[in-house]
Each structure stands twice: as C-alpha cells, then as structure tokens.
C-alpha cells in the first residue's frame, strides 16, 4: 500500500473500460465461434480481473513485495488445484 493518490479521472477510465468489456463479453457470446467462445469469455474475464487487481486494489503501485508473492502463490495454488484435478478427470475413461 502506498501513499500514491491517483486522479479520479484515472479511476473513471478503468470503470469505463470494465463496463465496455462486460458489454463485449455478453455480445460476443451470441456469436458462434466454436470452442473459442469459452476462451474469449475467460480472456475478457481475466483482463477485467487484472484491471481491478492492478488499479482498484493498487497492486501495481505497492512497494511491498511480500504482497505480490502472496497473490502470485495464491493463483499458482488455484492453478495446481484445477490443472491436477483435470489431469485426472480428463484422462479417465468413463464407462
């Protein structure tokens, strides 16, 4: 957490970007992109989450490296949970 005070204009810009991405993801879901529908939806969700984490939650401006380590490890553990579970279920033969 830093003493860095952003201008309110900056926050409005992030807000507009988040709203636009929300409309885009809803609209794109009606277009048939085959398997890419899911990929596009998740990429847009991740961009939105990054905007919130970096700018609204001030992670981009924090000087505290420990905080960043905690965030990266949390995402890594979540990745382990999902990836290793799917490595099992996706290779299992269902009778």
């Amino acid at each position: 957490m830093s003493e860095h005070i952003m201008s309110s204009k900056f926050y409005y810009t992030i807000w507009i970007a988040l709203l636009c991405l929300t409309v885009i993801t809803a609209a794109v879901s009606f277009v048939d992109l085959g398997p890419f529908n899911t990929i596009v939806a998740l990429v847009i969700a991740t961009i939105k989450a990054l905007l919130v984490v970096l700018f609204f939650m001030h992670v981009k401006y924090t000087s505290e490296k420990l905080t960043k380590i905690v965030i990266v490890s949390a995402i890594f553990w979540l990745f382990l949970l999902l990836a290793l579970s799917m490595a099992d279920y996706a290779t299992r033969l269902l009778s």
Binding site: T25, V52, A74
Partner: protein, 235 residues
C-alpha cells in the same frame, strides 16, 4: 529525585501502534494480512470452481442448456452494478486518502446501495428459477429446457440438477460474501461519519475495499462461467 524517567512514554494514535517501526510498515502489514485472507478465499471458491470444471467437462449439454435458461440481461446488469460499486469503493479510498470526510461517507453509502441492488436483482433471478422448478430437489423439473442441437438424446434430469446445484451454491456463496461486505461497509460508513479516518489513518477503508474488490472479481468469473456457456443461436 525521580524527575527524569528513563522510559519515554510516547502517545500513539491508531495510525502507529507501538509495535510497528513506522506508519508505512503498519499499513503494509495490514494489507498483507488481508491479502493472505483473500488467498484462502481464492482456495475456498476454488473448490467450487474445480467441481464446476469437472462436471461441465462431463455434462456439457446439460450445462449449456441450464446456462441458456438464465437471464443474461439481469446477469449483465448485475455485473455492471458490481463494477459501479467497485468504482465507488476505489473513489472512496481516494477520498479517505485526501481527508474528504463527506465525500467518503457518500461514496461508502453509494457502495452499500449498489450492494443491495445486486442482491435484489439476484433475488429476482432466484425467484424466477424457483417458479420455473429449476431449484434442485423434490420438485425439480427441467423438461422445459431446450436441448442443444448437437446433443444426441435428451437432457438428463439428474445431470441438469448438478448444474443448478452448482449455480445456486456458487451464486449463494457469492451473495453471502456480498451480505458480509455490505455489513462491513455499514461499519465503515458509521466510523467515517464519526471522523475516525484521516489521511494518516484510513487502513480499515483500504482493507474493506480490498475485500469488496475481491468479491467483485469472483463475480467477474462467475458471470461468463454460469451465464455465457453457450448462447449461440439454436438452429
């Protein structure tokens, strides 16, 4: 005789408790503690996302049909409502940093209003599902759902219930976090009104804000995963 006390007794405010070196260290410690809590929250929701992933992989047709039965307009509006609430939180932390008490109170109240708006819209959606007999259990009936054209066979009622179980569990757990968030923000508003937060000490506003933004991020992922699985026009 004992005029010079060897121990200097300093007066500390809440911005610098005696066991911290300086105010910045105290703020960083509070922020780190909140992030550690949010890391456990990621794993808490992660278990549900994992269950979702496995069942979506197994029963894709039922998940697609269930997803199509949700109200995408209410879902999109609710996403926008949460994004607006995140903006008011971010601006509220900024108001606290600058010591604008009235602005901070107004922004915190706006956040609470957006929180209630989200919960109200969610309640309408849940009630619609209740009326359509899409709540898992005794009276569950999903025979009205359109089956995707690429699927062979009909929709398995048991598998459809798994989709709606996950829908209610995930949105329910998220709504519980929203209710707790609204409660936290009511406390913050009260103390902001009393003038406890100053540019030197606004840690509770910042920490509460981190929690609110996290709950927003969970919804940012829930929205495409639950509402947008398969919205392609059925031909």
């Amino acid at each position: 005789m004992l005029s010079d006390s060897p121990i200097a007794v300093e007066q500390h405010g809440p911005e610098l408790l005696h066991h911290f070196v300086d105010a910045e260290q105290q703020r960083d410690a509070a922020s780190l503690g909140m992030w550690l809590f949010l890391a456990t929250e990621i794993m808490f929701f992660g278990g549900m996302f994992c269950a979702y992933l496995v069942y979506r992989y197994w029963y894709y047709n039922e998940f697609a049909a269930g997803s199509r039965s949700l109200d995408i307009y209410l879902g999109t509006i609710n996403t926008a409502v949460l994004i607006c609430s995140s903006l008011t939180v971010a601006l509220g932390v900024r108001a606290a940093q600058m010591g604008k008490r009235k602005l901070l109170v107004i922004l915190l109240l706006l956040t609470i209003v957006f929180g209630f708006a989200f919960l109200a819209i969610k309640g309408v959606e849940w009630y619609d599902k209740y009326k359509e007999h899409h709540v898992p259990g005794h009276s569950f009936n999903a025979s009205d759902l359109e089956k995707p054209p690429y699927s062979n066979g009909g929709i398995d009622q048991q598998h459809e219930q798994i989709y709606f179980s996950l829908y209610f569990a995930m949105t329910g757990l998220h709504a519980l976090h929203m209710i707790i968030g609204v409660g936290i923000f009511m406390f913050l508003t009260y103390y902001a009104w009393k003038g406890r937060y100053t540019p030197k000490y606004y840690t509770p506003v910042e920490i509460g804000g981190l929690y609110w933004h996290f709950v927003d991020i969970v919804w940012i992922y829930l929205f495409p995963l639950l509402y947008l699985i398969d919205r392609k026009p059925l031909r």
